[in-house]
Subunit: 354 residues, 4 copies
């Protein structure tokens, strides 16, 4: 009953097999191998973007930090949700790679930036050199709260950003989970909606350690190539990342994995919501569930061996709050989560199944 | 006949198997899993150092840059060989992680810092705030030229460094190859000889992507832990690195691999040296061979499909030079290089075998 | 009627004379001159601190940024008021000099950090390498809202900080104005109350361009010396800064200047408060006045030629707000502000004098 | 007899008077005052460049570091003479402001970059992301050895640089001394010869603390404006810098000062050259003299109270060397150096006058 994160599980069989398969024989190092080239072509086809530049890296923190560094000068600012991963969980990696540029947090329920908050921030007239000019907006898809931006929402936020000379980055650590919900094309969810760079995640959804920085603006490719290398993120044996990403994209494996995780999260949410005293402050749109539990239930689950994290309350909707005897927690389902896993937790919670 | 680098080959069978084996079941993320703990214990035992702090990362550039950043303040300088990997091949990763500290190159044959050059540099009296004070010395073991520092040589350089308040880093991307030659213990080659931090390489010698920053001074552990994370180098699925390192250290696998690579380099060197017009400007002490070839021989080898890199001449001994019709090249053997591979190259070169 | 800032006026006569006087003859450069040494001695006597290290610089931004860089590692965080100058008006200079460390804003009325907010922030248990550890607290004295921390308030905040391994910086751009109000000794207001480094301002209170970084912890002196130089803040003709600071400290000139500015602010506040519809959301404790004005009055003042800035409302006390037809503004008095200046503004406002 | 540097003297009378004159009355802060605007216009007229952007700062180190940061990305390299001030005397300020970009030193006699060395360096084909691409060339005018680049020399180096996508910076700490020798227009010596940014020095030639970053490419102005502020180099009382620069440029004061310094250097050189055992390894072209002195003469001069620095020998012409009983030293004349000063030193040296 480990619902702590979608990174506590290993690789999917398909991806592990691909790592093994790719191991034979000599291959050019540093990403100059044919498998890496094939991955680029897969991404270009998938995103309907022939000029797409693709930079595999091993961690999401690296993908985000390098991407933002390409968009924000050291004296600039990057807007994001006040609870975004880049803001709160990467130990300042973005600030490091951006050389001191500032992350500025915007509010919004469930980790989703409120359009009015963005508009208000951008409406403040530029105040000269004393103030760090906003140069990028980072959207998390899905959000830290497991919500999903619709393409028209992304387009509206991006349009507002671009009007102000602000580039758009999408932190897609859970992009697959978002897309599985949206049902649109990758292009519709990203560059057609105004996204300039996407941190495309795979590690949380079937890979062991593989992400890709997808650059929709060719003018940004060179700076990212150099920044990846000087960040120590260009693997010498590029086949390791390429094999994972190749299998991840093949035959819709990535979306199938994500759909499974999302289904399990929905099942978990339905089961929990039926329990007395449990409520979900915002909907479950991807693979994460954020219930407010009675403290006694929380204790019972933990005693039964369930693993998951308490959660912070900044993203709660207006009017919602966590009472004395309550706990806001986060449960995450992965591609490897089964109905059995979910039902075991629900059983421990005293529910009668999904 | 690919002698371009020891990173053109995949993982050894033992390591690949370990990756597969480690894949099952949920494990705590970010290195909090039992396998990562076991790797730390292996390193502590191997290096006879119970306080050793161990930080796995995926690339050697990351290991070096993070290690140096722990030793050198942003206003300081780090001495290294003028052809060291940190100086010439990492796109400024050390300067990035050190926040602008300067690398200062010292001369020496075959990539080995000449003790007199170090002594002369450190003998210059401190010149106040206009000048960046030297705070670290980085030794490459084996060197970029494939030479190996003896423990007493390391100890002499380290003693000189420490006298001047200068910490000692060892870039051990090919530490296994060096140790296989030295035959001493890991402790004798490192901390007993004055090394403060070791970048312990595995990727070039059987792993796919695994290195470890080994910190012999406990006071430096915390800053490295944070710097690894903010560098984007803390993998969420720590099992990937742990599995590789565990198998690498188990049953002397690492030294067996290195010994094989070294034997093949020696065989290659012997065969080449017998050819007319070929000479080795410095000895082969690890797994790299740097012959000066007649241009015609170089052309013949390449025509036959041999892959290797031309090399720069800065490390040549006094009195040695590369003539008009000659080429200095680098050939590297890996754990996976066989006698058949070596003999095929020698045959193409017109040699009659080893 | 220029109340825009205390930096719109030139130097005091005493300080200008000192610049002229110091100009004759050759002097050792880079602060090695006798006048610079004399300034250090003046500061040591004034602060009753024989080990005090003194680093003159030309701007307050430089003083703050260099000081914070000595206290906070690149992966750390620095707490300050959410409207502190370091947070909002220095274009990221602290982040630049700290190499990407993060500023975290705390709330509080009138720019004064609420002790409960600090306690709450520091009470959150450390969360490992994913989160930037707090390493410094920066207090503005006087605050951006013109309030003054009492020595016991500083001591309480500092004690809390030090308990958590957090060093204390004081941004004393208006330290003289604060001290003129407090009436205590400089030592009581700073190191005896737990301050580790003080940015001691003079430019706003009689100098042309002179601040001093006062370092009460000798272990921090060396890193600041180097960081000042590499920041480009070590003037070659050190006499310029030394002459200003020498005259500033001589004969209580600095406190006399500050007292005059504070008196004028008090007079201005008294006069404005008597006007219908005007209120002061927090008290005037130094040389800055923040009235909420009826919009019509604001317009009348500007039409009469008064110069001052609109102000932001984040620091308003709970329950206070600025209505539709109102404006929160900031008026600053300097050492050179006279009763005539104040009364002219009050007259334009329709007041009948102070 | 202080020939240690041209920064051991105070301001010229004209400039000191200007500081005093500019002190009266309120003026907009941060360079928004009319005097600062007038200085910009003076520079534009002087350099025949209506689009020139002008950024006054207080130190030459700041001017150089900010200028280079505008030209070189953090992953790039900047070529300069191996003994350039930016390389050896600024404690890594350029690397700090450039965020870790590398300075690469080129050889050349008397501090002047040998065109062949530049050509050879740029001729090396780009080697991909492992290597930091060259993005700027910094020329010191006059050089650290007191030599002066002719406009056609600057043009040749710049053309070569621009062909390779390399921008050109000129460190003009002693630009006035160079121009006084050249007799050409400022435009001919700079942008017409391909210079993109000039660090225009005044502090060494009559000002107390005033330099200006002159930006001939308007696209670079914005980044410099922000970088100056975040470097802490935007003075609040901009009048201090503006007054100095205004007086410096007025009525040819700057060139008159430089011409005097140069004349005194020439007189000094002539006198020294007549002494037995003294030789000048390269010509005196500005205000610096680098004689090789017999050790006994060096001792006699110091005993007589002469102040000057020993100098390093890397810039010596091929075939020249400093013998056992000899010393290479540097003597600098300033605008304030008189014939009496020079003749006193020559008399102490045993010369019979100029």
């Amino acid at each position: 009953m480990n619902f702590a994160s979608d990174n506590v599980t290993g690789a999917s069989t398909a991806i592990l097999d691909a790592i093994v398969r790719s191991n034979a024989g000599p291959l050019a190092s540093y990403g100059a191998d044919p498998l890496s080239a094939a991955v680029t072509e897969r991404f270009r086809a998938l995103f309907e973007c022939p000029d797409l530049a693709v930079f595999p890296v091993a961690t999401g923190t690296a993908a985000n930090a390098i991407a933002l560094a390409a968009l924000v000068p050291p004296f600039g600012a990057c807007l994001c949700h006040e609870e975004a991963h880049v803001m709160t969980d990467e130990c300042g990696a973005p600030e490091f790679f951006m050389h001191g540029a500032k992350l500025v947090g915007l509010p919004g329920e469930g980790g989703k930036i409120a359009p009015a908050a963005l508009a208000a921030h951008l409406a403040v007239p530029a105040r000269g050199v004393h103030h760090m000019p906003v140069r990028a907006l980072s959207l998390s898809q899905a959000t830290e709260g497991g919500l999903v931006y619709r393409p028209d929402e992304v387009a509206a936020l991006s349009a507002l950003a671009h009007e102000h000379g602000v580039a758009v980055h999408m932190d897609g650590a859970r992009f697959a989970n978002a897309l599985a919900t949206l049902g649109c094309t990758p292009a519709q969810a990203t560059w057609r909606a105004g996204v300039d760079i996407l941190s495309f995640g795979a590690s949380k959804n079937g890979a062991l350690a593989a992400e890709a920085i997808l650059v929709f603006r060719p003018d940004l490719a060179e700076t990212i190539a150099y920044r990846r290398k000087r960040g120590g993120h260009l693997l010498s044996k590029g086949r390791l990342l390429a094999a994972q990403l190749d299998a991840y994209l093949a035959d819709g494996h990535w979306l199938a994995n994500a759909a499974q995780a999302n289904r399990m999260a929905a099942r978990l949410a339905r089961g929990l919501a039926r329990l007395p005293g449990v409520r979900l402050p915002w909907p479950v749109e991807a693979n994460e569930v954020f219930p407010i539990l009675p403290a006694a239930l929380d204790a019972r689950l933990r005693a039964a061996g369930a693993v998951y994290h308490p959660w912070r309350t900044a993203s709660l909707p207006a009017g919602e709050s966590v009472g004395e005897g309550e706990r806001l927690v986060r449960l995450i389902c992965a591609f490897s989560t089964s109905e059995t896993d979910v039902d075991a937790l629900l059983a421990a919670a005293g529910a009668d199944g999904a």
